[in-house]
């Protein structure tokens, strides 16, 4: 995509930049001198694109000079399209508060809305004991019947919509297909002292000098490494297997009462989340060896494994993971001998879309802080969460909303948006909230990943108790819907 540059009354005024550049050229006679920006955002994932959109859409911050650096080809992302009966395997649930934010910044209407699926109910149960939580809104506790818990959406539908909105807003210097060679600090000249300003060096010689460098560059954030911010945590020794599934029907509740399912297996939770029509998306966290087996199976055997994951006993499943093939036959034989309430599990999977079975390593990471002088981290660069709560992307939206608000306050009070003094409110608003959520998801994972031993009876008690305790349940529901974030 071509760089869209419109410099209308930029924060770093154009004449200053030009003066500065002229001056540098005079001084050093060098061709490549940094372009000065107020915000340089590395990473055009959901977090980075939402941040720039929020800044551009707000009249208070719209005059900031902003640049976006992304390794991928964004033209492909913007023009992303799939036939109505095909879905990308990388889907995320968007909470109502994330959707509200996306709507406020004018991005929501740019998504292909017919590809977004709202769901109103969650069914969660323990694979070992069968204890269940029914996450639907209790009568009286809800604003209206059929209230949406969250929206399933393809990540590409979101990023593509955000790019369209950004293009509509204009004013962003986009550097995609970019390779960051290094990030350094600026220099001191006669007129200016930019020794605290990060400079992003792109392959080809382009240099971007940043009042505020935003790391929206995902879990392996190069910006975080540059800022020397430690990210602590652990690997779960689990992979998330994803796939786009076709079911026998539109779901037990029909088109307007869609249900998300999650079953806790000793190896990790398996979740099936509704997409439009007969389609669903799978997120199955399991051991790396199980994951590679699942990826190696034929479509028929893979489908059988997914159906088994929601129906058969953990022992049966474990056995089927030792087979190199033939799971389909094994499944139909074992199913006959397994009693279960067929309406309490998702409808039977009948197809898996070609090329959609993939896996990602799962880990928990939390950066020690989100800010340094002239650096801020958002989204997965700041924290990586276990996907079992479907909160990763939503946490990033929460970060972006908070950082955009922090920047707005700083701009309207004449503060330098890059200094920690201006950025402090962002960290104090987000850090604790994210930390609690990371901790809760981590504990749930550990609690439900033990196949036997003392935890099993306890957790069965736990799940039943959660189900019984109305207030606690609605707290968890609100958390899932993103309404509860402000509780902390």
């Amino acid at each position: 995509m071509d760089a869209v540059i419109r410099r209308r009354g930029a924060y770093v005024c154009r004449s200053c930049t030009q003066r500065f550049q002229r001056h540098l050229r005079r001084t050093y006679g060098s061709a490549a001198q940094p372009d000065i920006y107020d915000v340089v955002c590395v990473g055009a994932g959901p977090a980075g694109l939402s941040l720039l959109t929020a800044l551009r859409a707000n009249p208070v911050t719209a005059h900031l000079r902003v640049a976006l650096v992304e390794a991928q080809d964004l033209a492909k992302v913007k023009l992303w399209t799939l036939p109505p009966d095909r879905f990308s395997n990388r889907c995320s649930s968007l909470t109502p508060s994330s959707v509200l934010f996306l709507d406020q910044i004018g991005a929501w209407r740019h998504l292909a809305r017919e590809r977004v699926q709202a769901y109103q109910e969650m069914q969660v149960w323990d694979g070992v004991t069968g204890a269940r939580i029914e996450f639907d809104w209790a009568p009286g506790s809800t604003p209206a019947a059929g209230t949406t818990i969250a929206y399933m959406n393809e990540n590409l539908n979101l990023t593509s919509g955000l790019l369209k909105r950004l293009e509509e807003l204009g004013g962003v210097s986009v550097f995609d297909n970019a390779k960051i060679e290094r990030i350094s600090y600026g220099e001191e000249t006669e007129d200016l002292d930019l020794r605290e300003w990060p400079v992003v060096h792109l392959a080809g010689g382009k240099q971007l000098s940043a009042r505020l460098l935003v790391g929206a560059d995902g879990a392996n954030s190069p910006v975080r490494s540059f800022a020397d911010i430690e990210a602590r945590g652990w690997d779960y020794n689990r992979h998330g297997v994803v796939a786009t599934l076709e079911l026998e029907g539109e779901g037990w509740g029909g088109e307007h009462a869609k249900i998300a399912y999650q079953r806790f297996l000793p190896t990790g939770p398996v979740a099936m989340l509704p997409l439009p029509g007969k389609y669903s998306t799978l997120v199955w966290s399991t051991t790396p060896s199980n994951a590679s087996l699942l990826k190696s199976l034929s479509a028929k055997d893979f489908i059988a494994m997914v159906n088994a994951a929601f129906r058969l006993s953990p022992t049966d499943l474990e056995y089927m993971h030792t087979q190199e093939s033939g799971q389909a036959e094994e499944y139909s034989w074992r199913l006959e001998h397994t009693p279960f309430d067929y309406q309490a599990v998702p409808q039977t999977v009948v197809g898996v879309q070609e090329g959609t079975v993939a896996s990602f390593p799962l880990r928990l990471r939390h950066a020690d802080t989100y800010i340094r002088e002239r650096v801020a981290l958002v989204g997965d660069a700041a924290h990586t969460i276990h996907p079992l709560a479907g909160q990763g992307l939503n946490q990033g939206q929460g970060d972006v909303q908070s950082l955009a608000k922090t920047i707005e306050y700083a701009v309207s009070h004449g503060q330098d948006i890059g200094v920690t003094m201006s950025l402090e409110p962002y960290v104090s608003e987000r850090y604790a909230a994210n930390h609690v959520l990371l901790g809760v998801c981590d504990k749930l994972h550990k609690l439900y990943s033990a196949g036997s031993g003392p935890l099993v009876p306890l957790r069965s008690l736990g799940l039943s108790a959660v189900n019984a305790l109305g207030p606690l349940k609605s707290f968890l529901m609100n958390q899932a819907a993103g309404n509860g974030i402000k509780v902390f």
Binding site: T17, D193, L194, Q415, D416, M421
Partner: protein, 313 residues
């Protein structure tokens, strides 16, 4: 509530403001007589006992700020911009200054010139916390910032070089001047839109003469805004009684608490200027440790407050 910020940079940390304030004052005004709170309000320019007009202060050659004050601020220069240093309360207060100025400007339809291109004069700018922030606002045309300390101005200039948006030397200009040495605008209309005196007036020996001079830099329709601390029982207890009498950290009777100026006294001064000034705007603020500065209605009676007045003629 207590009047915490006499001048931010003096505070080593919010929990120990008294000692710092008192200790500094001990060196600065050794000759001052004993002070005890008087509930009587003084008039800045007429009551002889509290007469602050210096005979020579109107002449451009004299300075309103004494040398000890200047050297005190110079000593703080290095830590001025450290967000965790002694100036932190000032940094935290700065956004409120803009909120207050905005309230003042929007209160008078006459000052809403469009497009807004405000010219600021910041008197006693120190390291430039307010001056820089004013220069960054899109509605600002220029900021002239003056301070008598060359050391602190060197810090201000060095810091402003870190931000190309400030246009140091063009949009933002630092001058090593006092208000007495700065030439008065040739005509009233050439005055500034906003003249600011943040945490300055309590350092001035002759406030009435000082304000007489400062007023000449405000264009008709423009605003004079200041922040300071009230001279009240509360501020006397915290800065005088505790620090001097109880803790004995400062020689008795050397406190310049008497230089503090109450909101009513300021009001009295501006009322007495024959219709030159409009009705003042006031905002009391309180420092809440851990939260920063908060507006508290009525607190101008006891501690830190903002005061703004429009020049109407």
């Amino acid at each position: 509530m207590r009047p915490l910020l006499r001048h931010g940079p003096r505070l080593s940390r919010p929990a120990r403001p008294l000692w710092r304030t008192a200790a500094r004052v001990a060196q600065s005004t050794p000759a001052a007589g004993p002070c005890r709170p008087s509930q009587r309000s003084r008039q800045l320019s007429t009551t002889p006992a509290l007469q602050h007009t210096h005979p020579a202060s109107a002449s451009a050659s004299s300075s309103s700020v004494n040398e000890t004050e200047i050297s005190h601020f110079s000593a703080l220069a290095a830590s001025w911009w450290d967000p965790h240093g002694p100036s932190r309360p000032l940094h935290l207060m700065n956004p409120l200054r803009h909120d207050f100025i905005r309230t003042c400007l929007s209160s008078s339809p006459s000052s809403s010139s469009s497009p807004p291109a405000l010219r600021y004069l910041d008197v006693g700018c120190g390291g430039g916390i307010f001056a820089e922030s004013a220069a960054r606002l899109p509605s600002t045309l220029s900021v002239t910032a003056i301070d008598p300390s060359p050391t602190i101005l060197a810090v201000a200039r060095a810091h402003a070089r870190r931000d190309p948006a400030l246009g140091l030397g063009k949009k933002l200009v630092y001058l090593n001047e006092t208000i007495e040495s700065l030439p008065v605008p040739e005509s009233p209309a050439e005055g500034f839109d906003v003249v600011s005196l943040f945490e300055v007036i309590e350092h001035v020996d002759y406030p009435a003469a000082f304000l007489d001079r400062v007023g000449q830099f405000v264009r008709p329709g423009g605003w004079l805004v200041l922040s300071t601390i009230a001279r009240t029982w509360t501020s006397w207890v915290t800065t005088n009684l505790v620090a001097e009498d109880l803790l004995g950290m400062v020689p008795k009777g050397t406190h310049d608490w008497n230089k503090y100026i109450n909101e009513r006294e300021l009001r009295g001064y501006f009322d007495g200027q024959d219709g030159v000034w409009g009705v003042p705007m006031v905002m009391g603020v309180v420092y809440v440790p851990g939260l920063g500065w908060k507006e508290v209605r009525g607190s101008e009676e006891v501690g830190n407050y903002f005061f703004g007045v429009q020049r109407v003629a």
